[in-house]
């Protein structure tokens, strides 16, 4: 028995040594590790092409992060807090960026990348904190209003003009159809709430850079009440379908593709998805910018995407920023859009002929991104988002008289440390 145990211990030691040894490449070329969110292989391709373009100055290797944004944040935060030196380049979901930038976990952006001309406004805002750019925009996502042309025609709605939520709700009621929105208890709900509040001219967080004890929320305003009114009506009248309380982006798309589909707010991933799953629907498909809350005020569509940051403890920050510069070139962004369906943050990329061909709504996307309003930028974003999700769910229970107040009280209590989330 003892010999066996010793053998096992020995084997484990060998395995350990082998794993450690495998880490370093031997040809003197510095390896930059790019931590990417899982996608359809596009980021790995860009890594390969930029490695080639570097001509031996550096090599980019990708390493996967978990699929959902919350787990990505958890892994990166934990490792950055432990001063991990292997975090060179990171693909970051915009809402986490203030949280990682504030304690100094991100290396400062060099001057060569500070020029934000030609980058859509929504992406620039989501990449900044405390008035400066802390990450570099890579690709930018936004939600469009997708609609069934037959339904819009039958209702006599002119889709070449901006539409409002009221109009959409009315059409759905009259035609006995359902609207594809994301009412699940998830980040998608915060995205929706934020878009509604911002479209109504308000903001969820009045002073993003305040300390948690002193934060003020902008929900108990006309804008907040208007948002609650829209969500409440869709919920209580069953316009989102019976699956609304658990509907995510995929579910909305499925609802839209069904017989009761009429309108849907969703990200552009639905375009290639619907093309492959249900080509007939493409003939009946139209798109427009996100609906307005108030007919006279332009909408503020949701903004998402990925920005690239460099870890403050990386051993090769200069090289990493050079690599980032290569990655975000308009050609790479256009290629990424065409292959992976993730829209560019660089306006020049939209003019690429392949982009225009594959995505006829490319210009609408660009317009939407320029109008877009990011979610509240604060290191306490997680508390605010989850607090909103808890109090504005399920949609049937949302009403303009109570919900803005309840949610404000709850979120502020959590931020002050008086309540659990």
């Amino acid at each position: 028995m003892r010999t066996l145990r010793r053998t096992v211990a020995g084997l484990s030691a060998v395995a350990l040594a082998a794993t450690l040894g495998a880490c370093s490449a031997d040809d003197g070329v510095p390896t930059l590790t790019w931590y990417i969110n899982p996608d359809d292989g596009g980021q790995a391709e860009i890594a390969a092409s930029c490695t080639e373009a570097a001509n031996g100055a550096y090599r980019i290797e990708t390493s996967l992060l978990p699929r959902d944004a919350a787990s990505q944040r958890e892994q990166l935060a934990r490792r950055l807090a432990a001063s991990d030196r292997s975090l060179d380049i990171m693909s970051l979901d915009p809402p986490f960026i203030p949280e990682l930038a504030e304690p100094g976990f991100l290396a400062p952006v060099p001057d060569t990348l500070q020029d934000t001309d030609g980058i859509v406004q929504g992406a620039v805002q989501s990449a900044s904190w405390n008035g400066e750019l802390v990450t570099v925009p890579f690709w930018a996502n936004t939600q469009l209003l997708w609609y069934r042309e037959s339904v819009a025609e039958a209702a006599g709605l002119d889709m070449s003009q901006p539409v409002t939520w009221d109009q959409i709700i009315e059409v759905a009621e009259d035609q006995d159809k359902q609207i594809g929105v994301q009412g699940a208890l998830a980040e998608s709900l915060t995205v929706w709430i934020n878009a509604l509040v911002a479209s109504a001219g308000g903001q969820i967080l009045e002073d993003p850079e305040a300390s948690p004890d002193e934060m003020q929320l902008g929900l108990e305003t006309d804008a907040g009440r208007a948002a609650a009114d829209i969500i409440g009506r869709i919920g209580s009248e069953g316009l989102g379908g019976s699956g609304l309380p658990t509907a995510d982006e995929n579910a909305s798309m499925n609802l839209f593709q069904g017989d009761s589909g009429s309108f849907m707010v969703n990200w552009p991933f639905v375009w290639p998805a619907m093309q492959s799953s249900d080509p007939e629907i493409i003939d009946d498909l139209g798109w427009a910018v996100y609906p307005r809350v108030d007919a006279a005020t332009p909408a503020a569509p949701p903004v998402g995407g990925i920005n690239l940051g460099v870890g403050a403890y990386s051993e090769n920050t200069d090289l990493a920023w050079r690599a980032v510069e290569c990655i975000v070139q308009p050609e790479n962004q256009a290629q990424y859009f065409v292959t992976n369906g993730n829209p560019p943050s660089n306006t020049a990329a939209y003019d690429d002929p392949q982009v225009q061909e594959q995505f006829p709504m490319a210009d609408t996307i660009r317009e939407s991104l320029d109008l877009g309003a990011p979610r509240p930028q604060t290191p306490y974003y997680n508390e605010i988002s989850i607090g909103l999700q808890r109090t504005w769910h399920p949609p049937t229970a949302v009403n303009p008289d109570a919900t803005p107040e309840t949610s404000t009280d709850f979120i502020l209590a959590v931020l002050r440390g008086e309540r659990l989330l």
């Binding site: 028995m1 096992v8 450690l20 978990p66 699929r67 432990a82 995929n250 991933f269």
Partner: protein, 282 residues
């Protein structure tokens, strides 16, 4: 055994059928899901409307997008779980024997510690352990997972084996010793055969605990050097970030279940024979 009457036989058949359906139906459900196309996932029926092997290709075929995630993870899971189980069973057997047979100070402490350690929420252990492992160099290694798995599997193993050893009469060993055997020989010849079923049961339980772990797997690894299967599942991706990789996960589940079924088929015979022969009769 009395000969079974026909009504009794039929009753047993019905019972076994019910047991089979209860136990295997969800497995059947995942298997069916693994054969569905991406669009067919939302069809609302149990059986696929359109059968496809594409999910299996994704995780197993050389070109598959998840293949370089899944196969290393499978290797990691099997290797780490087996090693952890082996070590846990060996250590637990020694420890349980001591607890059941010998009287020494601190016995209760060991049992209580075993219990306490196994129930402390892993969630709060993970971050300090992560920091410790990074310093020591065990982060993202097999050993870095084996050791925490031991802390998960040892307590239940010790308790189970101790309960088992207690039910084996002390007299058997004493008799063997009186006959001239050393304590170790007495142990080997009398207790080991009777304890075998208990050891196998414990080994199965320990293996499955290690096999199932998710939190340690995802927090103490960062590459496929040590990432086990449950953690790897959360890296699978659909065609876009909004598409859950249901098909791929289901296929992975079935592939991973096959060795389990093999393990179960082999071990269930051992337990059976041991348990039915080894029961102590007057």
């Amino acid at each position: 055994m009395r000969a079974m009457t026909w009504p009794q036989r039929i009753m047993w058949l019905v019972i076994i059928a019910a047991v089979l359906v209860w136990s295997l139906f969800p497995v059947f459900s995942i298997a069916m899901t693994s054969f569905k196309t991406q669009a067919g996932l939302f069809s609302g029926t149990l059986l696929p409307e359109e059968w496809t092997w594409e999910n299996y290709a994704t995780i197993l075929a050389p070109g598959g997008s998840a293949q370089d995630l899944f196969l290393p993870a499978l290797r990691n899971s099997i290797g780490i779980s087996l090693i952890a189980t082996f070590i846990a069973v060996v250590l637990a057997t020694l420890c349980a024997y001591a607890i059941a047979r010998l009287d020494f100070p601190g016995k209760r402490i060991i049992l209580t510690t075993a219990l306490a350690v196994s129930v402390f929420p892993i969630v709060s252990i993970v971050t300090p352990l992560f920091n410790l492992w990074r310093v020591v160099g065990l982060y993202d290694t097999w050993l870095g997972l084996i050791i925490p798995y031991l802390s998960l599997t040892l307590p239940i193993s010790i308790w189970t084996l101790a309960a088992f050893f207690r039910q084996i009469p002390w007299e058997l060993e004493q008799a063997a010793q009186v006959d001239g055997a050393t304590p170790f020989e007495a142990f080997r010849k009398t207790v080991v055969p009777l304890a075998a079923p208990g050891v196998f049961t414990t080994a199965i339980i320990a293996f499955f605990i290690a096999w199932n772990d998710f939190v340690y797997g995802i927090s103490l690894t960062s590459t496929d050097a040590a990432r086990p299967v449950p953690a790897a599942l959360s890296f699978f991706t659909g065609a876009s970030q909004f598409e859950a990789p249901t098909g791929a996960i289901s296929a992975a589940a079935i592939v991973v279940t096959i060795p389990i079924v093999i393990v179960v088929v082999i071990f269930q015979r051992r337990i059976v024979s041991g348990l039915t022969q080894g029961a102590v009769k007057g």
